[in-house]
Amino acid sequence: MTATGFYHALKVDEDKCYGCTHCMNVCPTTAIRIKNGVANIRPDWCVDCGECMRACPVDAIFVEQDDFNRILDYKCRVALVPAVLIGQFPEKVTEAEIFSVMRELGFTHVFQTEHTSGLIKRTMIEAAREAEEKPVISSFCPAIVRLIQIKFPALLDQVLPVKPPIDASAVYFRKRLEDEGYAPEEIGIFYVTPCAAKIAAVKSPVGEQESPLDGVINMQFIYNKIYKLIKSRHETSSISPGEMLPFLSPAAIKYSLTGGEASHMEGRCLAIDEIHNVIEFLEKLENDEIDRVDFLELRACDQSCAGGVLVGGNRFLTTERLNKRAGRFKGVADIPGDIKAYTHFMEQNLDIGPLEPRSMMALDEDMGEAMRKMQQVRHLMCFLPGIDCAACGAPNCQSLAEDIVRRESQLSACVFIQRMMEKHRKLSGEHALKIIEKIWGANRLDKDCDKKGAENNTEV
């Protein structure tokens, strides 16, 4: 059976949201509807890709984050940082400086997410060799795994059951710290996330039962804190060199960028970024139109994690900086010595567990009933204008028709149908306005000179 009750990181601030449809129009899974003047995200359809957050003109869509002070609940406070955090800072800021400031912020340990990427790659290559069906798909991006669960369930078997670096590294460093003598409950591992999907993946993991992480920290939030401290240090010219972390190999530094996995797998490998591009490609893959491809690296964001919705810096500059940095670390081993000692332990802990389908496409569980509903949808489409104006609070006419059949909307939500009903005297103008207010909020059509772009609005 399909699983339910998934946690989502993306939330709508109902005070800020004014129901402008930007998010609804970009959502790749048509998960958003406008009701009472604000955006509503359908939990079963959302994959936490963050496109809505990017599109929002008033920052009404936000990610829920753990209280930073929660790190103080633990004796051993670990920050797990991905390479893209470094990529955001200007070049004159050194990695050592960044990590030393993070310790000042309260962390006792700073570890790098890509520390385990070499081992993951090796495990993926082995798993890909044994795979019956090609191409195999990387499980790296949690938004993509969720997308496959809800939209392409037939491809789930092709997802490689190997943990991505975030989970593998959390498992690894936890084990190391336990071996150093810390009790399990003393260790708190916090991931500094560049995106919403990884927050959701930590709060409700897609495969395994429990996440190896204890919390998530918004990268934007920590970036501001770090940068502020570094700035004040530079002013007082008391730059401490900070403690060095183990070097990452060039491949590890570039792992979360586009091509980071595909360039190291065997056979014909493709790297595709940006969620709409991924959907277009998976449609073809599902039809068996794609021939003789061995491996797919699929990432929801343009420029992969450098383009994460919580990455403040420009994604192209971040990519450039990481590429430059990788150039400086030629010769660093892909699988660090400390990991080699834990190879046996890691091999037993890299599996992601079964991935269940969460199909959102079906009109009904029962096929006969679904056929009847589809017939109703087609009948409704005879009346809807096909303008896809979204004035009904759904992204297009087809979605409205399906919502009506699911009993989540009504035909009179369409402003053009309202006109026709008024013409045939089946609807009063007053009633029509009430319907509009139900979707777009009370007094939505009243004159308001303070709204964005209006006379009194001085914010530019």
């Binding site: 599902e286 068996d288 139109e289 389908p357 199909s359 079906a362 029962d366 096929m367 006969g368 056929m371």
Partner: protein, 152 residues
Amino acid sequence: MKPGSSLFIDFEMKFKYEIEGGNFSKAGNASSAVKKILKQLNVPPSIIKKLVVALYEGEVNVVAHAWNGCIRVDIETDRIFVSIEDEGPGIPDIAQAMQEGFSTASQAVREMGFGAGMGLPNMKKNADVLDIRSDVGKGTVVEITTFLKKQE
């Protein structure tokens, strides 16, 4: 409806798609459209996959060999029936065409990644029933039937 076959009224849906011979950039559009419908009807993913693979092969065959064609899909709760009918050169020897690797595709078509001679064999593998009739110089009719298991 077959008399006395069910206590319920059998429900049936029919769809039709035109295929343009020679237009490879659109090959697959009909298969994608059918796939979307089957997903909405909650047909099990494994069955959708088999049918859509067979359908795509059939669609490409029409694009590669025929002048024009048409796909008809007839969906009932216990089976899906697809007929792919084209106006084209026809298949002189169907038994030969069913052999893996046999191909009459031109070099130009092969360079586009089609015409490896796996089309009909692959369709047979993915269809529960495959029926081919051809009239040389006139056209070909390929019929695919996929049975749906009773839902538990």
